[in-house]
């Protein structure tokens, strides 16, 4: 497939949990300011793969990788890369909304606070801008000092997106961001993704085939730790090359 400008890239990537070979020589390049979807059955390695891009697997005992992950052409697993700097560049939204047990405002500015930013004006401006980008501002602007846990599930997830946007990343990783939400909230998240791809490179893991079809430009199908097929979403859904992809898309397993 033809990639115009590659933002993220994996080269001969292998990953292991102890003895378990979770990812097998993956090679992939992802388009800047586009949405790439990872699909595949449970346990196929797609979430593990997603988490290698911001090194979230670092804390798991026994996890190790071989090969390279490039962000803007630079290997992110070399010793001189600081994980905290990397994660400012590569934000992440999780499967289950995980707002901190703090106020809405404190949730959004948390990433700035830990960078040592104390200027109230900057914090407030960033908070408003991020919430607006996440299409949540109008719903919460009068209760910024209320607990984030009081929000609905869908609002919580958009808050988590706002929280990720506040530190101005260029990539956003989304690990099944709508799987815990109702259909209306899911639609809002999908609309949001469509808006966000104007400015951000988005990688989304999803179980939901229709969702992949609706939101993504490119789709990668994973099966048992292998990247089976990677193509334009339209192409893959209409004429998959591999029979395993075809079986999965048509719902024969998964």
């Amino acid at each position: 497939m033809n990639i115009k400008h590659s933002k993220l890239e994996a080269i001969n990537l292998d990953a292991y949990y102890g003895d378990f070979h979770a990812l097998k020589s993956i090679n992939i390049a992802m388009e800047e300011k586009a949405v790439t979807a990872f699909i595949g059955p449970s346990g196929c390695g797609k979430s593990t793969f997603l988490r290698t891009f911001n090194r979230m697997n670092d804390y798991i005992d026994g996890f190790r990788i071989e090969g390279q992950i490039l962000l803007d052409g630079r290997d992110i697993y070399t010793d001189d890369v600081r994980v905290d700097e990397l994660r400012k560049e590569v934000g992440m939204v999780f499967q289950k909304p995980n707002p901190f047990p703090k106020t809405i405002y404190e949730n959004v500015v948390y990433g700035l606070r830990i960078q040592g930013i104390k200027d109230k004006k900057i914090l407030q401006e960033t908070c408003e801008k991020s919430l607006q980008q996440a299409a949540l501002w109008n719903e919460v602007k009068d209760k910024l000092d209320k607990s984030a846990l009081a929000l609905s599930g869908g609002q919580q997830q958009r808050l988590c997106i706002a929280r990720a946007l506040a530190i101005q990343p260029s990539v956003i990783l989304m690990d099944e961001p709508a799987s815990a939400l109702d259909p209306i909230s899911t639609a809002k998240i999908e609309d949001l993704i469509y808006e966000l791809k104007k400015d951000y490179t988005i990688v989304i893991v999803t179980h939901n085939m229709q969702q992949a079809g609706r939101v993504s430009d490119h789709t990668a199908f994973f099966y048992m730790g292998e990247l089976v097929e990677y193509a334009k979403t339209k192409t893959m859904f209409t004429s998959p090359k591999d029979t395993r992809t075809q079986n999965y898309i048509t719902g024969r397993f998964g």
């Binding site: 005992d61 994660r87 047990p101 830990i114 929280r163």
Partner: protein, 285 residues
Amino acid sequence: MTNSEKNRRKDKAFQVFGIFCTFIGLVVLAIFLIDIVIEGIGRIDWDFLTSLPSRRAARAGILTAWAGTIWILVLSALIAFPLGIAAGVYLEEYAKKTKLSNFLEINIANLAGVPSIIYGLLGLELFVRIMNLGGILLAGALTLSLLILPIIIVTTREAIKAVPRTIRDGSFALGASKWQTVWYQVLPASFGGILTGVILALSRAVGEAAPLIVIGALAYVPFVPSSPMDEFTVLPIQIFNWTSRPQAAFLTNAAAAIIILLLITFLLNGIAVYLRHRQQKKIKW
């Protein structure tokens, strides 16, 4: 009578016995508390609370004893609180599952099971003799700190464990370091639970007499301690001392002092229960 009728009767009989057992301890406790209150409440007045100890029962007060108890409480808290939380955080957030951390865990469980009087022997040798402190407040507080440290560590770990993994992930994903995540997310979210544990540990410390007797806390201290380097007594030792005397008037004093000690104990436990309740209501993950 058929077999199944017999079985049903036995079942009923056990149920009655179960209720009896459940309440027997509480009934005994109630009898005892009533007995203490009847015996001691008349003795409690302003003079009793503010008088120095005396050889004459009617003039003796518990000023030095409760002042010593408060001193011990505060000092033990200051020593054991940071140490216990730090150890709990290390074991729960940092330690890898190695043989060493496994050993640390068993060791702490063991320490929690060491009788308090053994801690007294440790304090006697370590603080009183080798560090040459003598039987002063600081030595007593250090001894009790060691005693309650395992309790604080264990409850800290439980409170930290209750914070969901997703909160840590969320923090790491925003670029926070390990310590930032612990400091800004894990500790605030588990603070209620930690505090509950610390207060329960302190309520244990407040009732301890044996280790303090061993390190040489005195029964008779004619002044209120004004620094950690002063000699001291505490309420349980005062109670022990009065209980060991043959004259009935001293038993009345002991009962009165017990009322005060129980008030402090119940107050601490009440705070702990309240905090736990509030914590459970406040955060539902």
